[in-house]
Amino acid sequence: MSDALPIDTLPIDDSVPIEDIGERHLMPADMTISEVTNLVAGVTERPAPRGWWILFIPAVMLAGLMFACLGYLVSAGTGVWGNNAPVYWAWDITNFVWWIGIGHAGTLISAILFLFRQKWRTSINRFAEAMTVFAVLCAAIFPVLHTGRPWLDYYLFPIPSAMNVWPNFKSPLMWDVFAVNTYLTISVVFWYVGLIPDLATIRDRSTNLLRKRIYGFFALGWRGSHRHWQHYERAYLIFAAISTPLVLSVHSVVSFDFATSVIPGWHTTIFPPYFVTGAVFSGFALVMTLMLIVRAVFGMHRVVTLKHLDLMTKFMLATSMLVGYAYAMEFFVAWYSGNPYEWWHFYHTRIGLADSTGQRSPYFWAWLAMVSCNVGVPQIFWFKFARRSIPVMFVATLLINVGMWFERFVIIVLSIHRDYLPSAWGIFHPTLVDMGLYLGTMGFFLTLFLLFVRWLPMFAIAELKGILPGAHPSHLHDHHEPHEAPAGELSPAPAE
C-alpha cells in the first residue's frame, strides 16, 4: 500500500477497484462468469483431447503393472521385495512416506490457504484435493502389504471379537493407522463437499439424460439456495479449520514411526516439523508438475495464470529453505549432542566421508541427490525468468520430487543399514518387484487423476466465480456483520 494514500481514508471495501491500492485482479479482466462455467464444465462434455489419451494409455498400463506386482507379492510373500536384515524398512516405507507427503500439499492448499484468505488457491485447490485423495490411496497400499500378511490387517482395528485381541495403542504404528484413515476420510469429505455445487452446474448443463442422472445424483439436488450456501460456507470453514491441524498431525505421526525409535538418524525431535515441511514442499511440486501438463492439454491458461504459477514457485522456494534448514540442523545436532553414533551416521553415512578405518556408506550419493534437488534446484526461483518459464518450472518440479523421494530413502534406508554395530551392517538392493510396484503406483495415481480431470470439474467453479471482479454487491460493507466472516473468503480478490 502506497504511503501517498492516507490510510484512514482508504475504503476497506472489497469492491473498491483494486488498482487503486496497487493490486491486480487474479483472473483475466475480461473473464465472465459464464466463461468459467463453459471452460471448466465443458471439459467433461467434449471428447478427451489427444494429449489426454497420450497420458492415459501408459498410465493404465503402469496401473496394470501395479496390480500384477500386487498379485505376485501377495501370492509369493514379501520376500520378493529386497528388504532383508537389517533393512526391513526400505522402498515400501519410503514410497509410503513419499505418497503421503504428496497428499499434504492438497490439504495445505485447500485448508491452510483458505484460512489465510489466499484467494489464488481457488484455481488449484480442487486439483490438489483430488491429488491428496489419490496419493493417500497409493500410500496406503504399502503399509498394508508391509505387514506381511495383508489378509490379517483387520487386526489393526479395535474390532471386538471372540479372540479378544486388541491393538497396542502405545505404538506409533497404531497412531499411523488412525491418522492415515482419518486423513483419507476427511480428505474425501472435504473434496466431495467442495464438488457439490459444481456437480450441480454440470447437471444443469447436461443434455443427456444419463449424465443428468449421474451428476444429479451426486449433486444431491443442490439448487444454489442461499439458505444452503450459508450453512455450506460455515461447514467449509469448519472443514478447513479441522483439516489444518489434521494435516500437520498426519505427517507428524508418520515421523513418530521413526522419531520414537533409537536408531541414529531416526531418533530426532526435529522430525515432525521437518516431515511436514518436506511433505508440503513435495506436494506443491507435484501439483505444479500435473498442473502444467493439464493446463497445456486442456488449454486452461486463463484459469491458471502465470500469476498463480509464480505464487506457487515462491511457495516452493520458501518450503525448500525450510527443508534446507532442517537438513542443516540435523548435522548441527549430531555434532552438538556429542553422540558418537549420531555423529558417525551423519558424517560417514550421509556425507560419505571415510572414517579412520576407511568405512563409509556406499549410499552416500543418495544424500547428495537429495540436497542438490531439494535445496539447490529451487534456488533458481529467486530469478523472475524462472518463475515465468514453464519448461524451467516443469523440470525443477520433477527434480524436486526426485529429491524428496531420496530424502525419505536417505532417512529410512541409510539410517538402518548402518546402525550401532558394524557386525549388524547390511545393504539394501531393490528388486524388480520393488521397482514395478513403485512405478505401478505412479500409473495408478495418474490413471485416477486423469479420470478425475476428464469427468469431474477440475477447478472449483463456484469459488472461481466468487473471485471474479464485480462478483459481489458493490455496497457490501454498508452493514458490516460479524457472521459474515466465513463468507468473506469469496470476495473479489486482490492477488496476494
Binding site: 476427511i186 469429505v189 439458505r227 450459508q230 483439516s243 491441524p245 464485480g470 454487491p473 456483520e481 463468507a487
Partner: protein, 278 residues
C-alpha cells in the same frame, strides 16, 4: 457508505479496468427467448420477456402487466385443462412458487431486501456461488452448524479415550470384552501422553463426519426433486444468473401481490412455477 459512493465505485471500476464488471453488468438476453411462451408447453404459466433493450423490457413489462391484470384467470385455465382426467385437477395446476431472475449481484440483493421487508418467510435466493451480503439482505440468522461439529468432535475424543482405556488400561470386562493392562515401553497402562494422537484423530474424524451429515440435515439435502427445477430457466442458477423464489406455501403468498412485489424489483424474467402433477 452512501449511494453516491456506490455509484462512484461503479464508475471507477468501469473506467479503470475495461470490461472488469462486464460479466455482471445488466445485459440484453440474446438468443434466450423465454422457454415455452404458452402455458401448454410447460407446467408453469410463463410471463417471459424477450428483452432487446431496456426500453423494450420496460414496454413489454407494462404490456404484460396490463394483460395479466385484465385476465389473470385466463392464464391459469389452459394448464388446468391439460389434465382433465387427473384425480385431482386442482393439485395438478397448483402454483408452487414464483421465480424471478436477476442479472447482477446488486439487483438480487436489492430485491432480496424488498422481499425480506415485505415479511415473507418461505422464500429463497439461488446464486451460482456464495454471494456476500445476502445473509443480511435475506435477514438470515447465523448458522448453528458449528455447534454440531463441536459436540461430535468432543464425542470423538471421549470415545477414543474410552476405547483406549478399556482395551489397554484395564482388564475389566465391558459387554463380554476384556482388555489387558499392558505395560509397553516401560509406560504404565493408560499412560495419557501416548493416547494423545489417537484422541486427536478420532476427534477430528467425528467432527468432520458430523459436519458433513449436519450440513445435509440442516439444508435438507439430498432432495432431488424440487419445484424450482420445473423451470427450464432455472438451469442458469448454477451458471450465471441469480434467482429469487417465493413459495406458495408462504402465508403471505398471493398470486397478484407477490407478482407485483417481484415485478417492482425489476427482474429480467419472472415466472410462476407450478407443482408437478404427481
Amino acid at each position: 457508505m452512501s449511494e453516491d459512493d456506490d455509484k462512484k465505485l461503479d464508475d471507477d471500476s468501469s473506467s479503470s479496468e475495461k470490461g472488469a464488471s462486464e460479466p455482471f453488468r445488466k445485459k440484453t438476453i440474446v438468443g434466450m427467448a423465454p422457454v415455452g411462451q404458452t402455458p401448454k408447453e410447460t407446467k408453469g404459466t410463463l410471463m417471459g420477456m424477450p428483452a432487446i433493450d431496456d426500453a423494450q423490457v420496460e414496454a413489454d413489462k407494462q404490456e404484460k402487466l396490463a394483460a395479466a391484470e385484465e385476465k389473470p384467470a385466463a392464464e391459469e385455465k389452459p394448464a388446468a385443462e391439460e389434465k382433465p382426467a387427473a384425480e385431482k385437477p386442482a393439485a395438478a395446476a397448483r402454483p408452487a412458487l414464483y421465480l424471478a431472475e436477476f442479472e447482477t449481484p446488486d439487483a438480487i440483493v436489492h430485491a432480496a431486501k424488498r422481499v425480506r421487508d415485505a415479511g415473507y418467510t418461505k422464500w429463497d435466493c439461488h446464486t451460482p456461488y456464495a454471494l456476500h451480503g445476502l445473509d443480511d439482505a435475506m435477514g438470515l440468522t447465523p448458522t448453528k452448524i458449528g455447534i454440531i461439529s463441536f459436540i461430535f468432535g468432543l464425542t470423538g475424543v471421549l470415545a477414543a479415550f474410552l476405547l483406549m482405556y478399556a482395551t489397554n488400561a484395564t482388564d475389566t470386562s465391558v459387554m463380554g470384552f476384556a482388555g489387558y493392562r499392558a505395560i509397553i515401553g516401560g509406560k504404565p497402562p493408560g499412560a495419557f501422553p501416548s493416547m494423545v494422537p489417537i484422541l486427536f484423530e478420532l476427534g477430528i474424524l467425528l467432527c468432520g463426519l458430523s459436519t458433513l451429515f449436519g450440513l445435509c440435515g440442516l439444508v435438507k439435502l439430498p432432495r432431488h426433486n424440487h419445484p424450482v427445477f420445473s423451470s427450464e430457466r432455472f438451469a442458469r442458477a448454477t451458471d450465471d444468473r441469480y434467482f429469487i423464489s417465493i413459495e406458495a406455501a408462504d402465508d403471505r403468498f398471493d398470486l397478484e401481490d407477490t407478482r407485483a412485489l417481484l415485478e417492482s424489483t425489476d427482474p429480467s424474467f419472472l415466472e410462476l412455477v407450478e407443482e408437478d402433477a404427481a
